[in-house]
């Protein structure tokens, strides 16, 4: 099968609309297709990977724990916009400690999340074959 570079742009917060959870469904399905997958969190999308979410009070399923499974599916390129974090008064310590095991480094546990500037993010986006925005 052809391998293409897919990037998923997550631009909305976890709750309030269905986009975050339905986008995560696509990403997990896509993992089975063995494509080169990246995720980007920009604008309110940065809230999707904030640590300690609790949706009990609004009767929603807290799907945020599913992000921890991404590493098991070899999805370990998670880019977070530094500007979007800063605009919302957040920093990298507010985010879930998402990790993967690096096959090339004796399965050492490494962080999946990289905080980068919007300029760096646009460069990464320009290198992709398919960009899906949610």
């Amino acid at each position: 099968m052809v391998t293409k570079k897919f990037i998923y742009l997550n631009r909305r917060s976890s709750f309030g609309t269905v986009y975050a959870i339905e986008s995560l469904e696509v990403v997990l399905i896509a993992a089975a297709f063995e494509q080169d997958v990246s995720l980007a969190f920009i604008d309110d999308g940065v809230y999707q990977i904030v640590e300690g979410q609790n949706a009990d009070g609004i009767g929603m399923k807290n799907f945020s724990k599913t992000f921890h499974a991404l590493g098991d599916y070899d999805i370990n390129k998670l880019y977070v916009s530094a500007e979007s974090l800063e605009e919302r008064g957040l920093n990298v310590d507010d985010l879930m400690p998402l990790v993967y095991e690096d096959e090339d480094d004796d399965w050492a546990e490494k962080p999946s999340v990289k905080v980068i500037s919007n300029v760096e993010l646009s460069k990464i986006m320009s290198e992709q074959d398919v960009c899906l925005s949610f």
Binding site: V2, E25, V26, I29, A32, Q35
Partner: protein
């Protein structure tokens, strides 16, 4: 060029489906191939065969149906995401009977399938264009 389209918004509330339709029509007229149109999120509502807009308005569902986007086997390539569809009360004959529901509302020009069809469209097409906010 081989083009696929993803539509993330429902009809009438949002212009995404209309714009995607105009885009698809123009692309076909220019000699491009529309490989697949994938309806996701509220976009699944573009496939309801019970849609009845006022007579002086466009019919978004029929517009798509009339484009006749099919594969070589004659199967529709207007694909509705099954997970998103069932959540929103959109189901075809087979899903209706499987769940003991006496009715179905997917227009015959569309078919229900999984998210893999979206990823495959991304792999097979030269361009995958997303419509929605």
């Amino acid at each position: 060029m081989k083009i696929s389209i993803q539509i993330n918004e429902g009809p009438y509330q949002h212009q995404a489906s209309d714009t995607a339709y105009q885009f698809a029509k123009a692309a076909i007229e220019k000699g491009h191939e529309i490989f697949r149109v994938f309806f996701y999120h509220d976009g699944v509502n573009n496939a309801s065969r019970f849609t009845l807009p006022p007579q002086d308005d466009r019919n978004v569902v029929n517009q798509w149906a009339e484009l006749g986007i099919k594969n070589v086997d004659g199967e529709p390539e207007l694909v509705v995401c099954i997970a998103a569809a069932l959540r929103r009360g959109m189901l075809d004959k087979s899903e209706a009977s499987k769940n003991g529901i006496d009715g179905n509302n997917i227009h015959p020009a569309f078919r229900i399938s999984g998210l893999g069809q979206l990823i495959e469209a991304g792999i097979q097409s030269d361009r995958l264009v997303v419509f929605g906010d």
